[in-house]
């Protein structure tokens, strides 16, 4: 059982959960099981199963390489253009699938929400884990690509997990907000595909952020994914892909603010989920 047997539980109107984070930790088992469920169900009843996790980024990479690298002839900062695109695509895919899945997570688990108690934060958090599995598969493709191009990464590759974590947190903030609002107003499910589609072109996925004119770079960095993608390229490709530090700090700041706003909104609405869903 997740509850402590000696503790007295008090239920009152408008009572803020005092042991919220502690409670969340106690329910880690459920978090694990839900994440496992989502992962094992993900590719059931599909013909090629996990191959989807390979095909999607690979085809996107090919298209972007041809359009931005061959036709538009954008600079590739010394690395093969395919690698440049793929290094940008990795965090973007992680971000967008995490955002999309987590945004629908509460509504998809409506039967759980209305029948069982647990800290609701577990549901979107567990869903996000699924995108990590897809990310790991994509990472394997990257390794194969790098062997193909005989491209050796430098020491910054060791910092990659840090940027993965930042990409995660960046998706979690808006996802929490949207998923909470989605419980009340189903309009918000239409917002995410749109944001993801638009973001793919607004973020430096198909091109290097260094082609942005210097005077606009700071403004451009308000998009928190700019810093994350730059960081990925720096880790994987190294060389001329320097992280633009002031922009990176702004990105981190925006991520932090979004996360705080998302959590606040989520916790505010959380108590009424069962009544509204």
């Amino acid at each position: 059982m997740y509850q402590d047997s000696t503790q007295e539980l008090v239920i009152e109107a408008g009572r803020r959960e005092r042991h919220y984070w502690q409670d969340l930790w106690r329910y880690r088992e459920l978090f694990r099981v839900l994440a496992w469920r989502d992962i094992s169900v993900r590719y059931k009843q599909t013909v090629i199963g996990a191959a989807w996790a390979v095909i999607r980024p690979f085809l996107t990479m090919m298209v972007f390489t041809i359009i931005f690298g061959k036709i538009a002839r954008l600079p590739s900062q010394g690395a093969p253009y395919a690698l440049l695109v793929f290094a940008g695509l990795l965090p973007w895919m992680l971000f967008s699938t995490a955002l999309a899945d987590a945004s629908n997570s509460l509504v998809n688990n409506a039967n759980l929400i209305s029948k069982v108690y647990f800290p609701r934060l577990i549901v979107p958090a567990a869903t996000v884990i699924v995108s990590l599995v897809d990310f790991l598969i994509s990472l394997a493709i990257l390794v194969i690509l790098m062997i193909w191009y005989q491209y050796l990464p430098g020491w910054p590759i060791l910092l990659l997990p840090v940027f993965v974590a930042i990409a995660f947190l960046t998706s979690l903030g808006p996802a929490l907000w949207i998923t909470a609002l989605n419980v009340k107003y189903r309009d918000f499910r239409y917002v995410i595909p749109f944001v993801v589609q638009l973001g793919l072109y607004v973020s430096p996925v198909g091109f290097s952020s260094s082609i942005i004119p210097e005077q606009w770079r700071l403004l451009y960095s308000i998009n928190p994914m700019v810093g994350v993608i730059d960081g990925f390229r720096w880790c994987i490709l190294g060389r001329d892909n320097q992280v633009y530090l002031p922009g990176f700090c702004i990105g981190i700041g925006v991520t932090g603010i979004l996360l705080w706003l998302g959590l606040r909104q989520f916790r505010q609405l959380e108590r009424n989920f069962a009544d509204l869903i």
Binding site: M1, S5, E8, V41, K115, D275
Partner: protein, 430 residues
């Protein structure tokens, strides 16, 4: 008193329900509709920004699902909760299991509480029986070690050993339910809260479930169970709570609680009230008059050939005169079989001042053959302008009388009336 496991004080839960206001229909010009929608949209945006609940409709009504409920349950007690539909049983359980929070009042619970509001919560059809046991167990609050320990017991109880590695979507509904209940039955909390979940599976399995519940209760656990099955409640619970319209009617001896519950049921069947005001209308009704409810002397049943009367409650908002009322009986496929309007029946046209009124319609001898009929009710002007009409307000069962009419009449017709029959032996001309 220190041994109270669950203490509930003045617990209330209020839901806000929105209605479309009746005023609206009077303004149907496009300009007004647009103005209203813009106005509503503005309100919604403001509510959204403030994080308040948005309610559709512009008349907001409070609905108290629970009102001032207080009780105290001591360790090891098995308490039943009974009450009619909508009495607040499920809401109470939802509050106790922290799914929804109360509007007022306070609950304190000592010890680990597990709730079982539905059998098989979170079962995933694509996963196998084995996987679903772990999943469902975790959702109900068991740790993996706990599930592992009881795994064999669970599959033996559910009798699904052979299909353990089959996705549950291939299970028969009986197997599915048995597996789901088996997981739940092996929960070992200190306080168990159970909604109407015993009514699953075949008779044999139900007996097994009841036995298991009794066993759980016997081990000194505190159990709170909702059930409509008074036999089960009588068998398992020493004391019982009777809820009625969100209020606590009685808490104490099970026999008395059940008598009260039965009493409130039979009282209900003497006069039945069918609420009409929130039923869907095919037409835009006149804002001046609205059908509120139908009152029946007996439960929704009548007897062929016997008298039958219907009370129609209306709410009049503006004085209105020369109103005609009518009722119609339709077959279940919607074909009108019998109609009776007040103006044709020689009754006066009705004039009303604002307020609530009741019109009574009675048949001296109901000519409908035994069977089931849908009742339509409506009101109109003495011309043919319809004010308000509800089609299929309720299903009326017409029973055969004690001196039943010839059998064939029941089988081959829907309407039987008496008429004058005589033999006329005069010149009939050949």
């Amino acid at each position: 008193m220190s041994d109270a496991v669950i203490t509930v004080e003045n617990l209330s839960k209020c839901y806000l329900v929105g209605h479309q206001s009746a005023q609206q229909e009077r303004y149907t010009s496009l300009r007004d509709v647009i103005a209203r929608e813009v106005h509503n949209f503005g309100h919604k945006l403001v509510d959204l920004a403030r994080g308040r609940q948005i309610i559709q409709g512009d008349e907001i009504e409070e609905f108290w699902a629970l009102k001032d409920v207080s009780f105290r349950i001591t360790r090891g007690e098995v308490v039943g909760i009974i009450g009619r539909n909508g009495a607040g049983k499920s809401t109470l359980l939802k509050i106790l299991s922290r799914i929804t929070e109360p509007s007022e009042g306070r609950v304190s619970i000592k010890g680990r509480l597990a709730s079982l509001l539905e059998v098989g919560t979170g079962f995933h059809p694509e996963l196998t029986g084995r996987e679903n046991i772990y999943l469902n167990g975790a959702i109900l609050g068991m740790t993996r070690a706990e599930i592992k320990r009881k795994f064999d017991e669970i599959i033996a109880f559910a009798e699904v050993e052979k299909f353990l590695d089959t996705p549950v979507k291939r299970y028969s509904s009986g197997m599915y339910v048995r597996l789901a209940f088996a997981v739940a039955a092996h929960l070992e909390p200190e306080v168990l809260v159970v909604d109407e979940v015993l009514a699953v599976g075949d008779v044999e399995f139900q007996k097994k479930c009841l036995g298991k519940m009794g066993e759980v209760a016997g081990r000194g656990r505190t159990v709170l169970m909702v059930s409509h099955n008074t036999h089960a409640v009588r068998a398992l619970c020493k004391s019982t709570i009777t809820l009625d319209s969100g209020r606590l009617l009685y808490f104490g001896d099970t026999d008395k609680a059940i008598r009260l519950y039965d009493g409130s049921l039979s009282e209900d069947s003497r006069e039945t009230r069918v609420v009409l005001y929130d039923k869907p209308r095919a037409l835009t009704r006149d804002p001046r008059i609205q059908l509120l409810a139908i009152n029946l002397e007996q439960k929704k049943a009548a007897t062929f050939g016997a008298g039958y009367s219907i009370g129609i409650d209306v709410e009049v908002r503006e004085a209105i005169s020369s109103v005609v009322f009518g009722v119609g009986f339709c077959s279940k496929s919607g074909i009108r079989i019998l109609s009776s309007d007040s103006d044709y029946s020689g009754s006066p046209l009705f004039d009303f001042v604002p307020g609530k009124h009741r019109i009574n319609c009675s048949f001296q001898s109901l000519p409908l053959a035994p069977g089931e009929y849908l009742l339509d009710v409506g009101c109109r002007s003495s011309g043919l302008t319809l004010y308000d009409e509800i089609k299929g307000a309720f299903l009326l069962e017409v029973l055969p009388p004690n001196d039943a009419p010839p059998q064939f009449l029941q089988k081959f017709t829907t309407c039987v009336v008496k008429s004058v029959w005589e033999k006329v032996d005069e010149d009939i001309g050949c």
